[in-house]
């Protein structure tokens, strides 16, 4: 009702524009009538008018009160304030633009980064009641993501209590080929029949798997991803029940996954297929352990993670008895929320980014507040005049706040547009592996965040100047200009310098860490090397002989390319630890006591052709590399890397020693050590070098398969002096010459190595960007404050100079203040930086969180830039002409 009458009154006022005039006329009439009355009582005409005016009181105030008594007044006043503010901005556009630009930078970067980190830190996962979803499994030092072997899984599945539903997917990778038209390599994830229903996912088209489709001998059916549906089938609704060719076999499509669908572990998926679980067969597979799988479950309502863990503990205890005693201690039960699993690697980085932009935002807000305060001080005269004319303090408060809010809104709009551009830049910079970044977008949630941030910033930066009390005494010109606001501004500037210091320190540590990463000795040559990876499909290459034949044919072709100096075939490439591997205590050396159970160190192995060491230029430190003759012989040579050799044979030569791998399998053959290779830093982003051994990959014999699972992945490595593009094209053409249907993943070694650095590069670039933005804003703030202070004290400086102060006295006066600000900001910033960097030590590589070089550089930079910001105001201070000052006194 109140609202209604307010709008009605407003409407009436707009239609009847003369209401103001009428009000004036009415009041004027009153005044005249009173004057007449006074005259009639015999007063002089001057006196009569004076008395009438005294009786009347302040005309302006009466008018204001009349207006304020109208119901729609607040709306009207808002319009008035807005009009007044806009007029002010037009009069001083540089001021308004500076504030809007500062806010744009602050709000824009914050919004863009928020849209990225939102997915990691705050957004719910795209599953129904995602907070109930957990990952269940065993973890150990090799496998921190959690897994269960089949035999354990069946027992747990049938006996568990805390979960509403439990499901699993096969451990990957699961490459498959879409063998229609141009062959495409896809990711085909085999999952249990109830996988999607456990996650709470309904296909956008078609249906989920039926139980019989996940049993052995069931029909070959698949759900395809939205992306595959879009890129390959053009969103054809007739895809349902269509039969597609996967690895040359017909598979019927029964559904399409939602666009937002993602696997619980965020791996890429194009096709979901049902695992054909044959429990009986699986029990005997893999030495009685069954096939490994990743297990996910939905908690029953009201069951917490801890309760679920306790409930599963007895089952884990039983299962643990089957595990070989020597690694039992290393294995733990894990029940973790899905979100935890998904974000473990990037959460810290997300917080770093978020913290950085919040700092930038705070600096921006402080700058805006400082600017507004400076303006407030220079406007004190205007405000004092308005108070003298009868404006109430509340009125001025709202007026000032309106101005600030208008600026914030403009800043928010500009910031939103800026964020849009910035996000595009992020997406261009972001490594492909960080899938969450690529899903970032400026949706309603992010816009809401922007609005909230800009309003908060507006209120924060508007409140301080709005609370300034205009002082009517100023009008007499006698009152000293009060300096209290200047001290608040000094506090803000010191705070900005402190925040800038934190940003710079984090950026500097990341940059130094990244440089170390970039320069670290890989142990291999990365230039002039091209790699090509193919996966031989089960359908086309069912037999070992066929696979071997393919490898041999391609290797032969590659050897005689332009400028080719070496060719290798391998199952895996540095810089990544091979997934095949084991533990140190699974290695048996002939004639030596077994390695004790406590030494559960991870070792990895690779199957390589004789060309491997020369191609990657890995030095053979002792003995020799594999020879071409050994490929066809029945010898079983092994080459150890330096670390493994030192572990197993400390202080002696391992050449000629015999060893066996896989302690669990007593039938495994003996290998003879023929050489020691240099260490290769395979763990990529960490300092550690892992013990490794190399086995010979052969053709035409099944010797190489006795050790483990033959990987269908074949990687060709070619070193050539020809231009790299030529080599890439040539390698590609040679492989297609042997088999034109195979999808080929081809890359230079440099690309592979540098892709490892994508994530650190991304965070380093971003944080540095924010640090530079923050520093620039802090410096602008310092500069603005000092210029303002100098301008304010111009008269004082002039008097001082007239009284004999030298220029260096004056310089000391101005610079001293600046230095004090820089010093106090730096000190506070230093203390905070030390705390922050300690939390970030996980992100750092070969740099301590208290790296003295980084800190000294940052402090020097701050002082240098701070002094630069001081120079111009200081120059204008010493160029004050005392004569001019004295004349104006």
């Amino acid at each position: 009702m109140e609202m209604f009458s307010a709008w009605k009154a407003l409407l009436r006022r707009i239609i009847r524009r003369n209401e103001e005039v009428e009000l004036d006329e009415e009041l004027q009439f009153h005044l005249e009538r009173q004057t007449q009355e006074n005259l009639a009582q015999g007063m002089e005409s001057e006196e009569a008018r004076r008395q009438a005016r005294i009786a009347f009181g302040a005309m302006g105030r009466a008018r204001d009160e009349c207006r304020e008594s109208r119901p729609g007044f607040w709306v009207e006043r808002l319009f008035q304030d807005v009009r007044y503010a806009l007029r002010g901005f037009r009069r001083n556009p540089v001021f308004a633009l500076t504030i809007v630009a500062t806010l744009m930078l602050g709000i824009g970067t914050t919004t863009a980064v928020f849209s990225v980190v939102d997915r990691i830190l705050f957004r719910s996962l795209p599953y129904e009641h995602a907070d109930q979803l957990v990952s269940v499994g065993m973890v150990h030092s090799l496998e921190t993501q959690g897994f269960l072997m089949g035999n354990t899984y069946y027992i747990w599945r049938d006996n568990q209590k805390p979960f509403e539903e439990i499901t699993s997917e096969a451990t990957g990778p699961h490459e498959c080929d879409l063998t229609e038209g141009t062959p495409v390599q896809l990711d085909c994830e085999p999952v249990e029949g109830n996988f999607l229903s456990t996650l709470g996912i309904t296909p956008v088209l078609g249906r989920n798997f039926l139980p019989e489709e996940a049993r052995p001998g069931g029909p070959d059916v698949a759900l395809i991803s939205y992306r595959l549906w879009l890129t390959h089938y053009n969103l054809d609704p007739k895809i349902l029940n269509k039969t597609i060719q996967i690895d040359g076999k017909p598979v019927r499509v029964i559904g399409v996954l939602p666009q937002s669908f993602e696997m619980p572990r965020l791996q890429n998926v194009d096709v979901l297929r049902a695992i054909m679980i044959d429990e009986v067969a699986d029990h005997s597979a893999n030495g009685g352990y069954g096939s490994p799988r990743r297990v996910f479950a939905r908690l029953k309502p009201g069951v917490s993670l801890e309760q679920a863990w306790s409930a599963m503990e007895p089952l884990f205890h039983d299962a643990n008895k089957q595990i070989p005693a020597d690694i039992r201690k290393d294995i733990h039960l894990s029940v973790r929320s899905l979100r935890d699993i998904q974000t473990q690697n990037v959460r810290l980085m997300a917080w770093v980014l978020f913290g950085s932009v919040i700092s930038v935002l705070l600096i921006a807000c402080a700058n805006v507040a400082s600017l507004l305060m400076a303006r407030g001080t220079s406007r004190q005269r205007e405000l004092a005049v308005r108070v003298a004319l009868g404006a109430s303090k509340a009125r001025l408060f709202w007026q000032t706040l309106t101005e600030t809010m208008l600026l914030s809104i403009a800043g928010a709009v500009a910031g939103y547009l800026f964020a849009k551009g910035l996000l595009r830049l992020f997406l261009a910079l972001a490594p492909a592996r960080l899938s969450f970044v690529h899903k970032a977008q400026l949706d309603l949630r992010v816009i809401g965040f922007t609005l909230a941030v800009s309003m908060l910033c507006g209120i924060f930066s508007g409140l301080i100047p709005a609370l300034q009390r205009p002082n009517a005494e100023l009008l007499t010109g006698r009152a000293e200009k009060r300096m209290t606001h200047a001290s608040v501004r000094q506090l803000l500037v010191a705070g900005q310098i402190a925040a800038g210091m934190i940003l710079l320190t984090v950026a500097m540590l990341l940059v130094r860490s990244f440089r170390n990463l970039d320069h670290q000795q890989m142990g291999i040559r990365v230039d002039n090397t091209v790699t090509a990876r193919v996966t031989l499909g089960v359908h086309k290459y069912p037999e070992l002989a066929g696979q071997a034949h393919f490898s041999e044919a391609v290797e032969d072709q590659l050897r005689y390319g332009p400028g080719v100096s070496a060719v290798a075939v391998t199952d895996s490439l540095p810089p990544a630890p091979n997934q095949n591997g084991g533990r140190l205590n699974q290695v048996v050396v002939a004639g030596k006591p077994p390695v004790t159970a406590g030494a559960g160190e991870v070792i990895t192995s690779r199957w390589v052709s004789p060309g491997y060491f020369p191609t990657l230029e890995i030095p053979i430190l002792q003995g020799r590399g594999f020879s071409q003759d050994e490929v066809t012989s029945s010898e079983r040579p092994v080459i150890l890397n330096q670390i493994l050799a030192e572990r197993l044979f400390p202080g002696q030569s391992p050449l000629g020693e015999r060893m066996r791998f896989g302690k669990l399998d007593p039938d495994s053959p003996w290998y003879t050590v023929i050489g020691i290779a240099g260490n290769v830093r395979n763990s990529g982003l960490t300092d550690k070098t892992v013990p490794e051994y190399y086995l010979l990959r052969r053709y035409g014999s099944d010797h190489w398969d006795t050790h483990g699972v033959w990987s269908r992945t074949v990687i060709f490595v070619v070193r050539s002096s020809a231009p790299i593009e030529t080599t890439v094209q040539w390698v590609h053409s040679r492989i297609t010459a042997v088999d034109p249907t195979l999808p080929i993943d081809i890359a230079t070694m440099k690309e592979r190595v540098s892709s490892l650095e994508d994530q650190p590069r991304f965070q380093t670039v971003l944080v540095s960007l924010f640090a530079i933005t923050g520093l620039a804003m802090a410096i602008i703030g310092l500069y603005g404050l000092l210029s303002f202070l100098v301008a304010q004290r111009e008269r004082e400086i002039g008097v001082r100079m007239a009284l004999g102060a030298t220029r260096s006295n004056i310089l000391r006066l101005v610079m001293g203040r600046s230095l004090r600000l820089i010093a106090s900001g730096t000190l506070v910033g230093l203390a905070l930086s030390l705390m922050v960097s300690r939390m970030l030590s996980h992100l750092l590589f070969s740099v301590g969180p208290y790296d003295p070089l980084s800190y000294s550089l940052v402090i020097l930079l701050l002082i240098f830039v701070g002094l630069m910001a001081t120079l111009i105001p200081a120059r204008s201070a010493i160029s004050v002409d005392p004569a001019v000052t004295l004349r104006s006194e």
Partner: protein, 109 residues
Amino acid sequence: MPPSSDLLQGTLDLLILRSLALEPMHGWGIAQRIQQISRDVLQIGQGSLYPALHRLEYRGWIQAEWGESENNRRAKFYSLTKSGKKQLEAELENWERLSSAIALVLKGA
């Protein structure tokens, strides 16, 4: 200063409504009338009179019309509306009750 600022807002409204019950009047007239009838005890300053008039007008209790004043000038005349009359009756009743209650308390004390 006259006691106008001490007048309760509701009381001022009541006085205005009561004055207008007799005939339409302009603002100055209302102030004069109240002053005369109260034998110069109540002097209504314009500072509070006009906001009150505007308030009452927006509430719909009085209405305004431009007319000719006693000295042949254009002036704004206020008159009671229907709901204004009702309001006056209700407020008078309220006032009676309140003042007799206060009188009782004062006598009894």
